[in-house]
C-alpha cells in the first residue's frame, strides 16, 4: 500500500509537471492570477494569451514563438492531468475505504474496552459476543516406557551399615533412663501411700534410703521434683522447705 502511494505520486508528478521553465512559470502565473482574483478559474483565451505575454516579457523572449509552443505543451499537459486525475481518484477511493476501516477498527476496540470486564484477573467479554475459532491441533505422541525386567530393582531404600558399638551405647543409655523413670514412679507411689496415711514425710530421710538402694543420685532428684509437682496440685498437702544457714569459719 505504502509503495503503491509513493509510486503513484512520483509517476503522476513526473507526468504532470512540465519539463521546461517557461511552461512551469506560465502555470504558476495563471494559478497566481486566479488566486488573486484577476482572472476566473475557467479563464478565457484572452486571459491565457495575456499571461503568455507577461511571461515572455518577464523572460525577455519572442511572444509569437512562445504562444504557439506553450499552447501545444499546455494541451499535452491537460491530457496527462486527465489520466493522472483518474488514477488519483481511484487512490483517493482506496484511501477513503482504508480510512473508514481504521475508524471502524478504533470504534471496535472502544466497544471491546467498554464491554470487557476484569473478573478475578480474567478479561471477559459478554457471552453474546461473537467469537471466532482458529485451528489448534497439537498432536501428542505418547511414548510408552520400555522396561527391562531383568534390570528391574525393587523400590526399597538402601540400608545403611550399622555401627554396633554406637547402637549398644544408645540402647544402654535408653534402658538406663527407662529404669530411672520406673524407679522414680515406684518411690513416688510409696511416699504417696505414706502421705495418705496422714503421716508427716521428711524427704531427707527418704533421700538417704533411695540413694542407698538405688545407688543412683538421679532417682532421688526426680522423686523430689515429682513430690513438689504433686504437692502443688493437691491443696490438702503442705510442702515445707527448711533453709539452713551455713557458717563459714575462718581458719585462724
Amino acid at each position: 500500500m505504502k509503495q503503491d502511494i509513493l509510486q503513484l505520486i512520483s509517476r503522476n508528478y513526473k507526468e504532470i509537471l512540465p519539463q521546461n521553465e517557461q511552461t512551469l512559470l506560465l502555470l504558476v502565473w495563471l494559478n497566481h492570477k486566479i488566486e488573486r482574483g484577476d482572472i476566473e478559474e475557467e479563464f478565457t483565451i484572452r486571459d491565457f494569451e495575456e499571461a503568455i505575454g507577461e511571461i515572455a516579457d518577464f523572460l525577455h523572449e519572442d511572444k509569437s514563438i512562445q504562444k504557439e509552443t506553450l499552447s501545444k505543451k499546455i494541451s499535452g499537459i491537460n491530457e496527462k492531468i486527465q489520466l493522472a486525475s483518474k488514477r488519483l481518484r481511484n487512490l483517493l477511493d482506496t484511501l477513503r475505504h482504508k480510512q473508514q476501516f481504521k475508524i471502524n477498527l478504533e470504534k471496535f476496540l472502544h466497544i471491546l474496552l467498554i464491554n470487557g470486564k476484569n473478573i478475578k484477573g480474567e478479561i471477559i467479554l459478554p457471552d453474546s459476543f461473537p467469537r471466532k475459532k482458529l485451528p489448534a491441533e497439537f498432536t501428542k505422541y505418547v511414548s510408552i516406557p520400555k522396561i527391562d525386567f531383568q534390570l528391574f530393582n525393587l523400590a526399597e531404600p538402601e540400608r545403611t551399615e550399622m555401627d554396633k558399638e554406637y547402637y549398644q551405647r544408645q540402647k544402654d543409655k535408653n534402658l538406663s533412663m527407662l529404669k530411672i523413670q520406673e524407679q522414680t514412679a515406684k518411690w513416688l507411689d510409696r511416699i504417696d501411700a505414706e502421705v495418705k496415711t496422714g503421716n508427716e514425710v521428711r524427704f531427707e530421710e527418704w533421700l538417704d534410703r533411695i540413694i542407698e538402694i538405688e545407688n543412683n543420685l538421679e532417682v532421688p532428684i526426680q522423686v523430689c521434683y515429682g513430690l513438689i509437682l504433686r504437692t502443688k496440685k493437691n491443696k490438702s498437702q503442705e510442702l515445707i522447705i527448711e533453709q539452713e544457714k551455713l557458717l563459714l569459719h575462718k581458719a585462724i
Binding site: M1, K2, Q3, F101, K102, N104, L105, E106, K107, F108, L109, H110, I111, L112, L113, I114, N115, G116, K117, N118, G121, E122, I123, I124, L125, P126, S128, F129, P130, R131, K132, K133, L134, P135, A136, E137, F138, T139
Partner: protein, 221 residues
C-alpha cells in the same frame, strides 16, 4: 516413476521431503506462515507449491481452506475453516476460540500496525504502558487490566499485568502475528500476518455500528 503423485505434485518434490511435515504441523496449530525468520523455508515451499497440489491437498483431505493473503506486498499463508462448515479441524479439540483478552490485544496491535504505516513496525513496553495509562481510553484500560482505577499500582500488580500481557504476546508469536526483539522487556515487531485479524473479524469491523447498537440494547434490557 511409478510412485509419482499426479493429483498432489508437491508430494514428489525434494522440498516437501524437507519442509512439508513442519509446514503441516505449523498450519494445523494455527500458525500464519510468512517470509520471515525461521518460517522462511516453509514459506518458500508453500509459495512454490501452493497451486501445485498443496491448496487442493488441504481442501480434499481436511475440508480446510489453505489461504494465501497479501498485505502491503507481503504474502502469508494460513489454514481457514470453509464458509459452509468446520472441516476436519473443526471437530473435537482441533480448534479453539480466540480468547477474549487475546482478541482485545489483537485489535490493539492491528490498530498500531495501521498507525505505523510509514514507520518501523516495532512496539516497546513503554508504548503499551502509555496507551494503558495516558491515552484517551486510559480509564477503560486500567479497569480492564488491573480490575480497578488507582493513581498508582503496587509492584506486584504491575508485574502481574506485565506477565499476563507477556503470555498473550507469546501466543501471538506462536500464531506468527508478532516476533520478539526482546521477550523479557516485551519489545516486539508486528508482522504482516497480524492483518489476519482483519479477515477474521472483518464482518464485525465493517458493521461496527450494528455491534454498538446491539450492546447498547443489551445493556438496556
Amino acid at each position: 516413476m511409478e510412485n509419482e503423485n499426479t493429483v498432489y505434485p508437491f508430494l514428489n518434490s525434494d522440498l516437501a521431503k524437507k519442509h512439508f511435515a513442519d509446514t503441516d504441523f505449523a498450519l494445523k496449530q494455527g500458525r500464519h506462515i510468512q517470509d520471515f525468520g525461521t518460517d522462511h523455508k516453509m514459506f518458500v515451499f508453500m509459495d512454490e507449491y501452493y497451486e501445485r497440489g498443496l491448496q487442493a491437498y488441504y481442501e480434499d483431505l481436511f475440508g480446510m481452506k489453505l489461504v494465501r493473503e497479501e498485505t502491503d506486498h507481503d504474502r502469508y499463508y494460513f489454514l481457514s475453516f470453509p464458509d459452509d462448515g468446520r472441516g476436519k479441524l473443526g471437530k473435537g479439540n482441533r480448534s479453539k476460540e480466540l480468547e477474549d483478552d487475546r482478541l482485545i490485544f489483537a485489535i490493539l496491535l492491528l490498530n498500531l500496525y495501521k498507525d505505523k504505516f510509514f514507520e518501523k513496525k516495532e512496539v516497546q513496553w513503554q508504548e503499551l504502558e502509555h496507551i494503558f495509562k495516558e491515552s484517551e481510553h486510559k480509564e477503560l484500560w486500567l479497569q480492564l487490566l488491573y480490575g480497578s482505577q488507582k493513581p498508582n499500582y503496587s509492584p506486584g500488580e504491575e508485574d502481574s499485568v506485565k506477565t499476563k500481557i507477556g503470555r498473550i504476546l507469546k501466543s501471538f508469536e506462536d500464531l506468527g502475528w508478532i516476533y520478539f526483539i526482546n521477550q523479557e522487556e516485551l519489545h516486539f515487531g508486528l508482522l504482516p500476518a497480524i492483518d489476519r485479524v482483519t479477515k477474521l473479524y472483518g464482518d464485525i469491523i465493517n458493521n461496527v455500528e450494528n455491534l454498538q447498537a446491539y450492546f447498547a440494547h443489551e445493556q438496556l434490557s
